[in-house]
């Protein structure tokens, strides 16, 4: 059952390599990489990748799979297929399931269930606090021993600074980061979009930028004081980026991620006015109060989007992660204020990165890919060595020239809550090989 990929342009951010070569894969591993690898009888399939990019499988370190407990939104089966369709071979899933992933049995369940149902690797993130209540620490050590790659109370920021301080102190004994969803719950209470001009004219209660920034500042200071690792989830504001930039200048052990929607859309999208940050190509504005523009943190204003793009470009922002948050159609068809926060992102992420960041020269291809491969791998402590012999055969093939239109009805995800429906994107994964097997390929 060998697989031979021929003549692709290999871009390997793990080894800083770029070359045209063939790759032979057998039994889940890369056997050899080189030019003119001979076909032999054990090769069951030859893939011609001429003119295409061959890249290590992408990693999305921020995904909500909803299983167990909310299988009507997404399951490990559908979520991992959505990941494969986007070009992801490894995803980290957040613990806000029902029940919460806050003990080793739940970690074991996720690992076993994803081995059984999943088509890509699933790495569980454990909760920091029991039941995500922000009151007492969960059994972090036991979860890590069982396979958790990080801990996070994602979706519910820990309000109690003493508990957060303890958590940072406690995790020093393990080589994992705390992934912090930064939000002051009192400042954001009742809000459903960014507090600014558009919340004013739409009459929607706002979530001020400061609701995020005060906790970004708090957690950087607490992590520094404890000498612990902090990874800040989905930064959305200019000042959050600036706080991380300053922390990095002090050599604090801080990393951060941004979602594709936060570098693409502004809060004008809620008003149906301007969807994109650039006016380069006026994307068709749909309508006001589209609940697929509602997520937490919310879409921010133009200055914030520009600052995020700057942060991506200068390296302040290490990772691009989707915060894939599936919800049912019925849930999203409610009144704007009642609809749940969150949008899905697995199947549009690389397309948006290539179209919105690489195609216009904001990021080099290799920098963009680093933020979806080697950087999250290092943060999560994954033993991934890129496209070299003996390493795990997680490889994707990207057609950088393919122009395609996002159609939510073709998604592998169960959910359809995506604001990019109808967008024209350039560049797409056409084949995803996870652990040596073809997990997805374009029709």
């Amino acid at each position: 059952m060998d697989l031979l990929i021929r003549n692709g342009r290999i871009i390997d951010p793990y080894n800083n390599q770029e070359k045209i070569a063939d790759i032979l894969i057998n039994d889940g591993k890369i056997v050899s990489v080189g030019t003119g690898i001979e076909n032999n009888e054990s090769v069951s399939r030859i893939v011609d990748a001429a003119g295409k990019l061959v890249v290590p499988g992408l990693i999305d370190m921020h995904v909500h799979l909803r299983e167990p407990g909310q299988e009507e939104k997404e399951t490990i089966t559908t979520g991992t297929r959505a990941a494969a369709a986007g070009g992801f071979t490894t995803i980290a899933c957040m613990p806000n399931t029902q029940p919460v992933i806050d003990n080793k049995s739940m970690i074991e369940f996720i690992l076993a269930k994803s081995k059984q149902d999943g088509v890509v690797r699933v790495l569980p993130v454990g909760a920091i606090s029991k039941e995500l209540k922000g009151e007492e620490l969960a059994e972090i050590g036991q979860m890590i021993k069982a396979g958790a790659v990080a801990v996070s109370d994602d979706g519910r920021s820990i309000q109690n600074a003493v508990l957060m301080k303890r958590a940072f102190e406690y995790i020093r004994q393990f080589n994992i980061p705390i992934i912090s969803h930064c939000e002051d719950a009192a400042l954001s209470a009742g809000g459903c979009m960014h507090e600014g001009y558009y919340s004013t004219i739409l009459g929607l209660p706002g979530i001020p930028s400061a609701a995020e920034e005060v906790v970004v500042a708090r957690d950087i200071l607490l992590a520094e004081a404890a000498g612990a690792r902090l990874h800040i989830a989905h930064v959305s504001t200019k000042k959050s980026v600036e706080l991380v930039r300053q922390a990095k200048k002090r050599s604090a052990n801080v990393t951060c991620e941004v979602t594709p929607h936060h570098f693409t859309l502004t809060d004008g999208a809620v008003a149906g006015i301007s969807l994109t940050c650039d006016a380069k190509e006026a994307k068709e504005a749909k309508h006001e109060f589209d609940t697929n523009t509602k997520m937490n943190p919310p879409l921010r204003d133009k200055e914030d989007v520009e600052a995020i793009r700057q942060g991506l470009s200068d390296g302040t922002i290490d990772v691009i992660a989707t915060d894939h948050a599936p919800h049912t159609r019925t849930e999203k068809e409610q009144e704007y204020g009642r609809a749940p926060f969150g949008i899905i992102g697995l199947e549009t992420s690389p397309g948006l990165v290539l179209t919105e960041l690489v195609d216009n020269g904001m990021l080099t291809l290799s920098d963009a890919l680093s933020k979806m491969t080697v950087n999250p791998a290092r943060i999560l402590g994954l033993e991934t060595s890129g496209i070299v012999p003996e390493s795990r055969a997680d490889i994707i093939i990207i057609d950088p020239e393919m122009e395609w239109v996002v159609d939510v009805n073709t998604f592998a995800s169960k959910a359809r809550n995506c604001p990019f429906h109808g967008w024209k994107l350039k560049g797409r994964a056409v084949m995803t090989i996870a652990n040596g097997r073809i997990a997805w390929e374009i029709e």
Binding site: E195, G196, Y197, S199, T200, I201, L202, G203, L204, P205, G206, H287, E288, F289, T330, E333, Q334, E335, Y336, G337, R338
Partner: protein, 305 residues
């Protein structure tokens, strides 16, 4: 002139010509209310559904009378928000109502954006009767109609809007409309109740009531929504009244023919002193009377398109 909108969702989407057309139409309908038989056959055979998710007496009654004076059949549906929690979704309610084939749905809801959502779910014309803190277009139109009736035109008038701008859909609708009609609008209220970026609509902002009313042609007060002020938006009602309550002494600073407006219901002696509310400058009851003519005009125009 013809009205190009199937719905009236907000004043934001109207041009000065649209607003003028509605006011002109309202002026001709106003006469109907002075007849002995207060009814014209304009909407005979049409059904208007008043779908109210928030308690409202004056707006619902005003729409009901307006529709009846146009000979429409009127159905009032009031849904308390508490029953919605376990009950039917908004989408299902709207689809059910639509199946009864009304021509127009008039909707009020505590959540901003609901009329927009309803307009996408139905083939009926939708009229926004107030959505959250977003817009209350018929109130804005009746205010502008009342001002125009008294002052001849809106252009160049100095208008002060006082109070809780942050939570006020009436303020937003009036600001869009008045600015579009060329009036000079000053907003005044405590900074905690002044929404971010509102000046981008072309208004001035002051936190000093005397400055706001100086040389004003119109002083428009907003109802202080006492139920919304739990989060310490200001220290006390007593302090609010001292700083932002309109008293007779303020009227000396305004133009001699200043007129006072309030969308009601008023908090007497809080945002407006009883003497001012009852005084000769007050247009409060005329606003109510004009509300019917303006709503008749809106029902007629959206249906006619």
């Amino acid at each position: 002139m013809h009205f190009s909108h199937r719905h009236l969702l907000g004043i934001q989407g109207l041009t000065a010509e649209d607003i003028t057309l509605i006011m002109d139409t309202a002026a001709s309908f106003k006469e109907v209310s002075n007849r002995e038989v207060k009814r014209v056959p304009t909407l005979r055979g049409h059904t208007v559904v008043n779908l109210f998710y928030e308690p409202s007496t004056r707006t619902r009654t005003s729409f009901e009378i307006a529709a009846k004076r146009l000979s429409a059949d009127v159905l009032n549906i009031t849904i308390s928000t508490s029953s919605v929690v376990k009950g039917e979704s908004l989408k299902d309610t709207v689809k059910t109502i639509e199946a009864m084939q009304p021509s127009i749905i008039v909707i009020r809801h505590a959540e901003a954006g609901v009329p927009q959502m309803v307009s996408r779910l139905t083939r009926c014309s939708v009229i926004n009767a107030g959505d959250g803190s977003h817009e209350h277009p018929t109130q804005g139109l009746l205010d502008m109609f009342t001002i125009r009736e008294k002052k001849g035109e809106l252009k160049g008038l100095k208008i002060a809007i006082i109070g809780d701008i942050l939570h006020s859909r009436v303020a937003r609708s009036n600001i869009w409309g008045l600015i579009r009609m060329g009036a000079d609008v000053t907003l005044c209220g405590p900074p905690t109740l002044m929404p971010i970026g509102i000046e981008r609509l072309g208004t001035r902002i002051t936190y000093d009531l005397s400055e706001a009313v100086r040389d004003a042609d119109i002083i428009m007060l907003l109802r202080l929504q006492l139920e919304r002020q739990k989060n310490s938006m200001f220290p006390s009602v007593r302090e609010y009244t001292e700083f932002y309550g309109l008293k007779e002494s303020h009227l000396q600073l305004a133009k001699p023919d200043v007129l006072i407006m309030h969308p009601g219901p008023i908090n007497r002696d809080i945002e407006i002193s009883g003497a001012v509310a009852d005084g000769e400058y007050s247009l409060i009851l005329e606003q109510v009377t004009n509300g019917i003519a303006v709503r008749m005009a809106v029902l007629y125009l959206v249906n006619g398109r």
